[in-house]
């Protein structure tokens, strides 16, 4: 089971500013280990952010995204106390969802 994400969702003007830190190895599949064997690719492929039953951000990622990725974006229509949920799925089918409440700016 993957480690939890760190999610901050904060009102910024008329928008909600979301920052997400994810814990993931993000192996490219290009690296070799100490014995010369290829380290298999292992990376997050899909990221979905939901707010009140609506997808406010979705992304498709590849192996070029850094280890322990950080996502920062804004969306409209969120209010203090409402929840934002973030889900990622990696190429091994592993999945993780975390939530956070929107806080005042």
């Amino acid at each position: 089971m993957a480690d939890p994400m760190r999610i901050r969702a904060q009102i910024a003007g008329d928008k909600v500013e979301v920052r997400v830190l994810m814990s993931h190895e993000m192996e490219t599949g290009q690296r070799r280990d100490n014995n010369g064997n290829i380290v298999p690719a292992w990376f997050i492929q899909n990221v979905t952010v939901n707010h009140g039953g609506r997808t406010v951000m979705s992304a498709q990622w590849g192996p070029a995204v850094a280890k322990n990725p950080f996502v920062h974006f804004r969306f409209s229509g969120g209010k203090v106390g409402e929840r934002v949920s973030v889900t990622w799925t990696d190429n091994r089918g592993d999945k993780r969802t975390d939530e956070a409440a929107i806080i005042a700016g």
Binding site: D3, P4, R6, L21, S23, E25, K67, N68, F70, H72
Partner: protein
């Protein structure tokens, strides 16, 4: 004559260009560091460390919440800014990491070997110790460094640390001071802090532990010293040894007065 002037002009141009390149590189690295400040993955280690701190672990199935890291059992807030310090129960000076090992052994019932089996994380295998260190240090953010050398053993550790800092040895005849005793030294493109200058010493100490982007790991202060010793081609620095604590004591004490700012993020 004409050729001479030409060569001189070229030399000036090259020299000027070199200085410019170095300045702009330092500036670019600084911009990169600033861009990284938001969203420091060290926070992932902090969350994990807090969980580990509160989780019953080891043969005794107890948490570390009764662990005394200097301000009383279980007090984490502000504790790191006063370490290393003398502890009566062990009758020695401990830094954070050697103290955590002590708690794992005395409270949780682990053997020393188990407690120190994996203290530095590697690819695909993060170390619990580094997570614990991240959590504890994060609880001193903004607290002024205040390391005492009142006790004779603290004074002794400080003096030993100072000696180590200036001690030249190994196949390169290096001391810590060889790289960290003058301004504007660097390894490849990395500017090195001059640890004999108070401002640099404060900035360096208060930004460790740190998340190293190039390694994708959170690195503790014991790791920092361990790797300096490796780069100096010194014998391996033993984890939590008296010598490592003494050197930490010297560097921590020299950072007194500055607000602790870790865990930071570094290239």
């Amino acid at each position: 004559m004409r050729i001479g002037t030409c060569v001189a002009a070229m030399a000036i141009a090259l020299w000027g260009g070199g200085a410019f390149a170095q300045d702009s590189t330092a500036k670019a690295i600084q911009e990169y560091r600033d861009a990284l400040q938001d969203g420091n993955p060290a926070e992932l280690w902090e969350i994990k460390g807090e969980d580990l701190w509160k989780q019953p672990r080891g043969p005794n199935k107890v948490s570390l919440e009764k662990c005394d890291i200097g301000l009383g059992p279980g007090v984490v807030k502000g504790a790191y800014a006063r370490l290393p310090k003398y502890f009566k129960d062990t009758d020695r000076v401990d830094d954070l990491e050697s103290r955590l090992v002590h708690c794992m052994v005395s409270l949780q019932g682990m053997s020393r070997a188990d407690a120190t089996r994996r203290v530095f994380g590697g690819p695909g295998a993060a170390a619990d110790m580094e997570a614990l260190v991240a959590y504890v240090t994060s609880q001193s953010k903004g607290v002024k460094m205040n390391v005492a050398v009142g006790h004779p053993k603290e004074r002794e550790a400080f003096e030993m640390g100072q000696k180590v800092f200036y001690y030249r040895g190994g196949p390169h005849d290096f001391a810590c001071a060889t790289c960290h005793g003058e301004d504007n030294k660097r390894i490849r493109l990395q500017d090195l802090p001059n640890l004999t200058n108070q401002k640099d010493a404060q900035r360096a100490y208060t930004t460790w532990p740190a998340y190293r982007v190039s390694q994708g790991e959170l690195r503790s202060f014991q790791w920092r010293l361990y790797d300096c010793f490796r780069q100096q081609r010194f014998p391996e620095l033993l984890y939590g040894s008296d010598l490592s604590v003494a050197l930490t004591m010297f560097l921590a004490r020299n950072a007194n007065g500055a607000a602790y700012a870790g865990p930071a993020i570094k290239r």
